[in-house]
Symmetry: C4
Subunit: 197 residues, 4 copies
């Protein structure tokens, strides 16, 4: 079975998630700058979530690029990832509208953590179908960055009860860590590709 | 006529349905866990509907995979299916916000039932175009699982007036039954494919 | 320039229009059937608009099928069509929530009328690029059905001030007229295709 | 890496942006024309933003047409552009609902300005990957129209504090300037293409 519809459906869902988050930016009634000042935390959490959905789309793009076929378990691992990402508009809105209160900030991290785990499961499902020795498995390697991210989300979610600012700083730090697309796959593929003599 | 745009349009509609359902999870005003406790039934019905849209996308994917061309009646049978699925965000929200009350739970089952019938009509329209002896017709067989599901939705919708919990249990049970993608088509096609001597 | 992105973008917009219309079906607070009774006119106008968007997608599908390349004027004629269709969720909601009052019903017809004119302009832009003698021009012929529809929308919009029921009856009648996909193109192309001796 | 998913994702996001803006046209409670009269400024700003998203889609279409491959920096430059465009529904709604007040009108221009800069960055990222001597670089030339637009948005945003009508007139003027798709690329490519003797 081909991967085209998997990509198309994922693109559609991610495009909608990234766009409907902006609906949480409710149009205010006043007409001066003070009217939109209360929206700044909502805007900030919108930017953070936009980055995350962008990162997931980017990595998804790279990951699927090296996939040749998909199975039922890959389809469901992908839907599982989309499920957790679909909760981002809710957690983004709740965190933003409450000016980064502790519980909403912790829930935001929990959803990021679950999305990270779902991505990991998707990678495993792809490797399981394509074989451990395949290019992909070699390219992904031990996936230290993925595991580290999940760990940081968890720590940040707990730290949200101490200081939501530290938690959000960590969410932002992980986003910056991922802003660079997954060059490991590209590089490995290049190094393994047969070379012209 | 090709099937590409039919797939693209269906993917788009299904991606939007699965994503706008999350808009029923209204951001609460409080900032502690008790503020989102009332959202749990809404969340539960969201998970159930997410599963169902995922299942329909998955089976639609498998079904269209074996299709070579589409006709006007297939286009409309497909739109008919999308119509009933497009009502899922409404019935999901009504059932969830009323903590699984009887009438909303019954209506939820009625819409699932109509979607099941619409899927059946789509399958028949495809078989009608491709011929009863085609691979697809053999692969689908008597479609016992599809007919059984529609029957269970009906029974569950009626049982909702006795106990909405039994009804929702049945909705979940059918979802689990379908979580496995339609391997019948894949298996039949494999078994019918010409083999290397 | 290829037509792929024109189709993809149009599919996306039409998929969103057809799906967000359901958001006008606001989840009611009550839990019995009387709670959703006031929604029946909204539901009825949703069904009507679903039919219309389905018809436009269907005809758009057939129309673009016979197109080999697109120009700037086709891109804008297409966007112009999408603009009028994008107003359908608003006019559908206004007409439905006011139980088919005169002015909303007339506005609904006006938007249908403008969409019909926009479709006509799109057809002309495509014929202009492909040449009057091309298959498409012959297949479309004088487009009596398109012109008649626009006329009926106009008459119905005026009759809405006499009786909104007559107007809605006419809208429904035109929809039924179009439910059959545009077989003219298919038939003409078949009749013009070179035949095996 | 191919450009297909970049196009598909961008089409999806732009399709959603252009469509959810219509949700700001809230269905009014009255049933006569005076009930929708207050919506006229919202409708006007909707038309303006529809034009702008259409223009961006159109130019994006032309720009990507001449691209052979994409890199990580192009992916992110594209997401950056989509980010600013995703704020259009918010600024459109704020400007429209406040009958073109000064601050909302200025913010509208600021977002247009940032989107213009983001488009410029995307063009540079594409040229950087494809080489300065490539067809694209020659075709785009010095991009006087792009730079001029950004300048006009800035001036208009400042003039919004003098008269929002002047500002909106300038926004409309730039839109008209761009309504013609970017023929420079098409023309240059034609003139550089090898000719039959």
């Amino acid at each position: 079975m081909g991967k085209n519809r998997l990509e198309a459906f994922s693109d559609g869902v991610l495009a909608i998630i990234i766009t409907i988050m902006v609906l949480e930016l409710k149009v205010p009634h006043g007409t001066d700058l003070s009217a939109i000042a209360p929206l700044l935390p909502v805007f900030g959490s919108y930017v953070l979530s936009f980055l995350y959905v962008g990162i997931y789309w980017n990595n998804h793009h790279h990951l699927l690029h090296s996939v040749q076929r998909v199975s039922g378990s890959i389809l469901w691992a992908n839907l599982h990832l989309l499920f957790w990402l679909s909760l981002l508009p809710f957690t983004t809105g709740w965190m933003g509208e409450n000016h980064l209160a502790s519980v909403p900030t912790a829930l935001y991290g929990f959803v990021l953590c679950m999305a990270g785990i779902a991505y990991y499961i998707l990678v495993r499902a792809i490797i399981a179908l394509h074989g451990r020795d395949a290019l992909l498995a070699q390219a992904i390697g031990r996936d230290a960055k993925g595991k580290l991210s999940v760990l940081i989300y968890l720590v940040a979610a707990l730290l949200a009860f101490v200081s939501p600012w530290i938690a959000n700083g960590l969410y932002l730090a992980v986003a910056v860590l991922w802003l660079v697309p997954d060059r490991r796959i590209e590089r490995k593929m290049d190094s393994l590709a047969p070379r012209e003599p």
